[in-house]
Amino acid sequence: MGASQTELASFRKEVSAWLDENNPGDPGFLLPQTFMEVGSEQQLDFLREWQYRLWSAGYLGVHWPQEYGGRGMDPAFQTVVDRELRRHRTPITFNVIGLGWAGPLILDIGDEEDKARYIKGILSGEDIWCQGFSEPDYGSDLGSVQTRAVRDGDDYVVNGTKIWTTMGNYARYMILLARTNPDAERRYDGLSFFLSPMQVEGIEARPIRKMTGEYGFTETFFTDARIPASCLIGGEGRGWRVAMQTLQYERGAAAGAAGGLAWVQVNIADMIEAVRPLQRDGQPLLEDPVVRDRLVQLMIQERAIGLAERRGAIQPLNSDYPMSLPLSHKLRLSEYQRRMRQYAMELLGAQGGLYVGDEEVVAGGFWQRAYFNNFATTIGGGTSQIQANIIGEQVLGLPKS
């Protein structure tokens, strides 16, 4: 283990050269910008093939153990790969719940059998994983999970409904949070965590049509679904702790995730290049002074987000409100992206009235979809309004709302 700068630099070159050769070009249809947007078999097949090739080449989970499909290297090598994927603007590695949540969890607390059964399929993309935390009436308040799992012999019998299940209709497994003890004194103690199969009688994943017109999520119904008791991980009543543990892998390869690219980065430089050929009042759009000013404002906001990440690492420059930058990152980034993508739509002029599927729509409708789908980030994982409450209360010390 351990990695020298020289080793990392030469590895970077190798990865970069491989990507120059193997980065798939335009497939002729719109690819998902995030793993939450896989809405057709065509997209799924394409992404599955891409992830398989990336893993076969040895560039996914390079720091995961060799015996389960990794290469047993230092996580720094995977971070190098992830950066190169971004730089080369590759498609996403779509099996995100497996790569970033279930996989590292199984490696951390699963037994030998679990590891042997699940890890390779996660890396190769053969086994798609989904996540069953949210429920229709409770949003992201996990403590209120109502789905029941009742022990019956060698099985648990599950009843309830999960929602916003990403790729629920394609997944082979689900990480499932369910209530095993409704009488627990503290509601968190009544929860358990399962690695549940999806192809079981009594589980129905019904695709939800998004405001974009596309699919990507399901509402997942459990009706007396029997899953083996061996699916329980972390022990009965410890589901809350296990769920919290899965959240910390989000920070990337260094935190244990397999790595890859969960979403396509969209930045203002892309937007400017997309609108550069357009006209306004018979003149190039980018010569309009008001447009120029608005774009500069957005560029300032985008750079501020990048700078905040750098400054966050310099302790003396964070003495006022030490948690301010980390706790506000999601709010700033998602809201900035919303404003930027919304403005892209405005700049498209009459083009902005077209949509995915039209022959003449700019970039296949990329910006239309980019704007609409961005609401997944200002709503999911705690809405911007909840984020503002959290920052107000935990950073500024304002009283609870």
Partner: protein, 378 residues
């Protein structure tokens, strides 16, 4: 790769971290709100003993080379000091003298530097006289210097000359035979009553209209440096230092608002619990945090030579962001203090007034964004 790294560079040297620490403590100790208010209707606008103390701490020499008695840490190291002063609303001629010194560092001859810079390190006050109208974007210079033998005879006036009443030296933009130049002028050369104080919206600041008409200055006092280059860098540096001051003031303003929101009750609840107040306050926090990122980014990429494009972008973004952040913080501070906020007694007025002063100083947000556009879009 390099350009990308520069674009996101923020570093803080050990010296700068120590400077930040000691500046913060000094400013907090020497400039509580009572002493700030005690100065509001004074003539000088600052305490001589506080000025002497900060001079003896070496702060006037931070951006002046060791050859002239300074510590040569560079102009980036003036940023933490400026930020701390802004936070404590501490007024001294630090800004005027630091900016004027940069004119000499970047555009002065060796003799001019030898003559003026060691004095500035030891507390002599210098200032710049650049502005003639409301238009910070006006590149023309109306203050005329007519050559008479080996002397220049001046005709014309400048406004917004900070700390003019206490300045020993002025660095003014003048027009000599149709060409714009920078000129070093000693206070003794001014005619009696040449300086008339202006009434400023920010009562912690002091500025004057200075009529240079009749002053005679040796031709040798013309700065030899390339005018366009030096004046551009001078304005960018001044914009950055004012951005740093604005950032500090915006943090202090935010603290004042948060203090009120966590103590004031209405309808039986602390008003900070209402989302209508809480959420905009979080927006203020984010705006101020962004300003802070930009000032330290600019401080990290600004060098001693002529400013590179990345440094120009950083300074302009810093001023654009910090001006807006303080304006927003000040505006919301008044509103959220309710009727109390409408009084002179409430400290919120100090910040909204400062916001209006600093907004215009060395160009407002739009002035800088307009100049960023060709750098970023073309």
């Amino acid at each position: 790769m390099t350009a990308d790294t520069d674009r996101m560079l923020i570093s803080l040297s050990e010296e700068q971290a120590m400077l930040l620490d000691s500046a913060r403590e000094f400013c907090r100790n020497r400039s509580d709100i009572t002493s700030v208010r005690a100065l509001l209707d004074s003539d000088a606008g600052f305490y001589r003993e506080v000025w002497q103390e900060l001079v003896s701490l070496g702060w006037m020499g931070v951006a002046i080379g060791e050859a002239h008695g300074g510590s040569g840490l560079g102009i980036g190291s003036a940023v933490p000091i400026a930020e701390c002063m802004g936070r404590a609303l501490l007024s001294t001629p630090f800004f005027s003298a630091t900016i004027a010194a940069q004119a000499l560092v970047r555009g002065g001859s060796e003799q001019q530097q030898d003559r003026v810079l060691p004095g500035i390190v030891e507390g002599k006050i210098a200032t710049v006289a650049l502005l003639e109208s409301e238009d910070w974007g006006d590149e023309s210079v109306a203050l005329t210097a007519t050559v008479v033998g080996d002397e220049l005879q001046l005709t014309g006036a400048k406004i917004h000359v900070a700390d003019a009443a206490v300045a020993d030296w002025f660095v003014a933009s003048v027009s000599v035979e149709g060409a714009a130049r920078l000129l070093l002028i000693h206070a003794d050369a001014l005619a009696p009553a040449a300086i008339s104080a202006q009434v400023l919206i920010d009562e912690t600041k002091r500025s004057a209209r200075v009529d240079f008409t009749g002053a005679r200055v040796p031709v040798a006092n013309l700065l030899p440096g390339d005018f366009d280059l030096v004046i551009r860098d001078l304005r960018l540096i001044a914009a950055l230092l004012h951005a740093a001051e604005a950032t500090g003031s915006a943090f202090a303003c935010l603290d004042t608002t948060v203090e009120y929101l966590t103590t004031r009750k209405q309808f039986g609840r602390l008003i900070g619990s209402y989302q209508a107040l809480k959420h905009p306050t979080v927006e203020v926090l984010c705006a101020v945090e962004d300003a802070r990122s930009f000032i330290y980014h600019a401080a990290s990429v600004i060098g001693e030579g002529p400013l590179e494009q990345e440094a120009e972008i950083a300074c302009r973004m810093a001023k654009a962001q910090a001006s807006e952040a303080l304006k927003f913080a000040g505006d919301r501070a008044i509103q959220f203090h309710g009727a109390m906020g409408f009084t002179y007694e409430c400290d919120a007025q100090l910040y909204i007034r400062r916001a209006q002063w600093l907004q215009q100083a060395f160009g407002d947000a739009y002035h800088h964004r307009k100049r960023l556009a060709p750098l970023l879009l073309d």
